[in-house]
Amino acid sequence: MVNYISNAAMPIIILLIVGYGLKEKIKVYDTFLDGAKEGLEMVFRLLPTLIGIFMAIGALRSSGILDLIVKIISPICIFFDLPSQIMPLALIRPISGSASMAVAVDIMQEFGVDSTIGMIASTIMGSTETTLYTIAVYTGCVGIKKIRFALATALIADFVGMLTSIIICKIL
């Protein structure tokens, strides 16, 4: 049932959006192409990061360091019943958007997109933001230096989001 709702949501939204565009007499196809072009640029912008991060992860994994780190932190994770394979993603998620996407893709490939770990990685990517970057952009643009409790509350939100992602994917 949950799967069916999830699956139906996307086609219905496409239908609604295209229908709405037609109703407002928008050149939907031309507009679509404009947007698709932006998508193309996004992928091109992501490619260098993907290569850089994959290279680093490839080195970490093939050298055996990643296994070592996961082994070291796994007692803590087992104690709290958390999957240790997700920890690299959890740590990098607030710092860099494209780097965390690369790490998530790596996790999905390694453990399977539809495995529990893969689902958790996807859910974390979908439900959290690049907190540090967002704060930097919005304070930087008006020259603000003192951020008071902004970082603390945003990280609380991230933490709750990640924890919920893990719990929910384990239940479903």
């Binding site: 709405y20 290279m55 680093a56 093939s62 996807s122 439900s127 704060i135 409790f149 509350t153």
Partner: protein, 199 residues
């Protein structure tokens, strides 16, 4: 940050691999990874273009303005101090709607506009106001209705259930946003403007 982490990752891995006799695996590990990155980018192309195209249509319709009205009650709850500032109110609403619709490219410029407007009424120009903190929190909460990029990537990785994450994402997003908003409200209540500023 990554300027520091990236070299550390590489240096530590290379030294560790060579010391433990894994030079061969390291070699193929690095170059396979680079090839993977390129292969993946090509598979991402189709789905990413599709979703960006669909979302561009949204941007052109009046759907955005309709949604602005829809979120008004939330706005009043989140930004009680901005009541008189109509412009900031509207810019924040548009930024939130753009975020909900997954229009990242539109959300950031709108958000910067909103910050600039709020900064005008800020008595301490180097410090965030309560409303600004709440605004930034909303932007770090990822309120996206459909996580199109993640779905696109799942699709290209051959998922049989690429959209299956929508419901989990909704639940996790709501939980995160709720926790963040409550924490911010609490902090504003305790250490907000006009009170003894510890933060």
């Amino acid at each position: 940050m990554l300027n520091l982490l990236w070299p550390i990752f590489l240096i530590v891995s290379i030294i560790y691999a060579i010391a433990t006799g894994k030079a061969e695996q390291l070699n193929s590990g690095i170059f396979d990874a680079v090839k993977d990155a390129v292969d993946l980018s090509i598979t991402f192309l189709g789905t990413m273009c599709l979703w960006n195209g669909i979302m561009k249509i949204v941007q052109e319709t009046s759907l955005m303005n309709k949604l602005v009205k829809f979120i008004e009650p939330f706005m009043r709850f989140l930004f009680p101090k901005l009541k008189g500032n109509k412009r900031a109110y509207q810019e924040i609403s548009l930024n939130m709607v753009a975020n909900i619709m997954g229009l990242g490219n539109a959300a950031t410029p709108l958000g910067i506009k909103a910050m600039t407007t709020m900064q005008k009424d800020n008595p301490k120009k180097d410090t965030l106001t309560d409303s600004m903190i709440m605004f930034i929190l909303i932007n770090t909460a990822s309120l996206q209705l459909i996580p199109t990029n993640v779905i696109a990537i799942r699709m290209s990785l051959g998922s049989e259930n690429s959209a299956g994450i929508i419901v989990p994402v909704w639940i996790a997003t709501v939980a995160a946003a709720f926790a963040g908003i409550m924490a911010t409200k609490f902090a504003i209540h305790k250490w907000g403007e006009g009170k003894d500023r510890k933060w």
